[in-house]
């Protein structure tokens, strides 16, 4: 039996358990850097493709397309990054390690909190790599450092909220590969029917409405504003959510978390009992 002196103070056990699990996931990033390399290479590729291929054909009034583009690619990349949460959880279930975790006296939330936290760290690394790439191709921040920091924080917050959405997906499917396929179906419309790469004003009716209320549009618009990648001379989009992008983004984050956190916890309880 364990003696009292071996046990740490139980007061912060849920937090410590979450950190223990997050640390485990981060060790994996260190040992198998492939995943990180690919999650950063694809946005770099997107930046280069759009900047040099489409950039010459797409004209955005009042601002250079490369500057306009970056916020969109940031948002898209955050969304892709958050699918890792689902992938990682599905993999843990498949490999049986969730059984080990569930038979331990650890906090129920620890696996989910740990996973979403380590994916947040992953996204921080990705956002740094992307910013550097952006700076190289000519992207500049024109706002105050505080606003810029706010922009990055909002992007990460958005990624964190979607991590929980994909946690639900990952805990509902039978294998990690399914998470990838399922998330592509979901992510492509979400990131393309939006203001990520082109303006939404010229989209046909229903697509326009979708794009205007799409959380991806709100976050992209908010990041654009906060990085100062808009031109005050150019009229702002007329849709309400895009006129109040920071508020809309935060509202989306709150709604996504309120819906997906309890769902994920519930799915986690059931997932391992299959």
């Amino acid at each position: 039996m364990t003696t009292e002196s071996m046990l740490a103070n139980p007061a912060f056990k849920p937090l410590r358990d979450g950190i223990t699990v997050a640390r485990r996931n981060l060790i994996k990033i260190k040992r198998v850097p492939d995943l990180l390399v690919f999650t950063t290479l694809s946005p770099i590729m997107f930046v280069l493709l759009f900047a040099y291929v489409f950039g010459s054909a797409i004209d955005v009034p009042g601002v250079s397309y490369r500057e306009y583009l970056m916020a969109g690619i940031f948002t898209q990349t955050m969304l892709f990054g958050s699918t890792l949460t689902g992938y990682g959880l599905a993999e843990d279930i498949q490999k049986g390690i969730v059984d080990r975790f569930r038979s331990l006296p650890m906090a129920r939330s620890a696996l989910l909190v740990g996973r979403t936290t380590s994916d947040l760290v992953n996204n921080v690394i990705v956002i740094i790599v992307m910013s550097v790439t952006g700076l190289i191709v000519g992207w500049r921040i024109h706002s105050s450092p505080l606003e810029a920091l706010g922009g990055f924080a909002l992007l990460l917050l958005f990624a964190y909220a979607f991590s929980w959405v994909f946690a639900v997906v990952g805990l509902s499917v039978r294998s990690p590969e399914v998470v990838n396929n399922a998330s592509f179906i979901f992510i492509f419309p979400l990131t393309f029917i939006a203001n990520t790469f082109v303006g939404v004003t010229d989209l046909p009716g229903p697509l326009k409405a979708f794009a205007e209320w799409n959380p991806v549009s709100a976050v992209t618009q908010a990041a654009r504003d906060l990085f100062g990648n808009t031109n005050p001379a150019v009229p702002q989009p007329d849709a309400w959510p895009l006129r109040h992008p920071v508020f809309t983004s935060l509202a989306w984050v709150v709604v996504l978390l309120i819906v997906s956190v309890p769902l994920a916890v519930n799915r986690y309880k059931k997932a391992a009992s299959r």
Partner: protein
Amino acid sequence: MMEIAIEAEGLVKKYGAVVALDGFDLSVPQGTVMGLLGPNGAGKTTAVRVFTTLLKPDAGRARVAGLDVVADARRLRGLIGLSGQYAAVDEHLTGFENLDMVGRLYGFTAKASRERARALLARFDLEDAADRPVKGYSGGMRRRLDLAGALVAQPPVLFLDEPTTGLDPRSRLGMWDVISELVAAGSTLLLTTQYLEEADHLASRIAVIDHGKVIALGTSDDLKNQVGGERLELTVSTPADIDSARAVLAPLASGEITVDEPARRVTVPVTGGASALMESLRRLDAEAVKVLDVGLRRPSLDDVFLTLTGHAAEEESS
């Protein structure tokens, strides 16, 4: 009177139309080893999952170390160790990191957790591999590490779900040694297996399980007596040899001798294993009975099942 460490009454668990546990009863006294023997799909793993709080039963109740597996699940998890059918270790972590993580999750301080991890790695002969990622471990090493993970908090009750399935014979013997040591140290242990030999070697009592319930319970001797124990199987070269073989071996038989005429095979129940085999060969040789093939057969899971249920174990696997 002995304390009961593991107890189940009328456990039922259904997955849709499949009934995994169908009125499962079991009682394991403290400090003893119970072998849960059955084919794939008999309900062994489901039973272990209920005992280790991973699964809520649809009906019935179970207590482990005096705690209800549903109502007291949280407290119970600090008192049990589980080593599963598929080694639940993280292959990207080193052996040390795996055990240290488990220690932390049990609530150990950083120092205590590290010390415990090192001690277990030494005990399970994994010191040299301690700081290598588990990815490069052999199957036997992974199982040993998984078992070490179950022992981090020195839990009084241990569950080992098919600890040697899929291991080569040498690794299996190694696992047996490790498990025997645990048993000697006084842990209560529930072990599931598909191999009668394994249950025989490790468990003091064996529960045979089929279609989600216990159909026979006893020591391995009890079961073997029911099944018929060891027997000598020999194939003779001519039909005439059948009768002489039967006559020569009659004094050694512990039961009725059966004969398969077309195959010219004579089956003789015996006791005494290898010495019975040698004695029989000596006698057959002395009487110049021509033997083509001879072997000592021990009762297998199939025999147990055939005798107890009337169907072979294989039919169950799916």
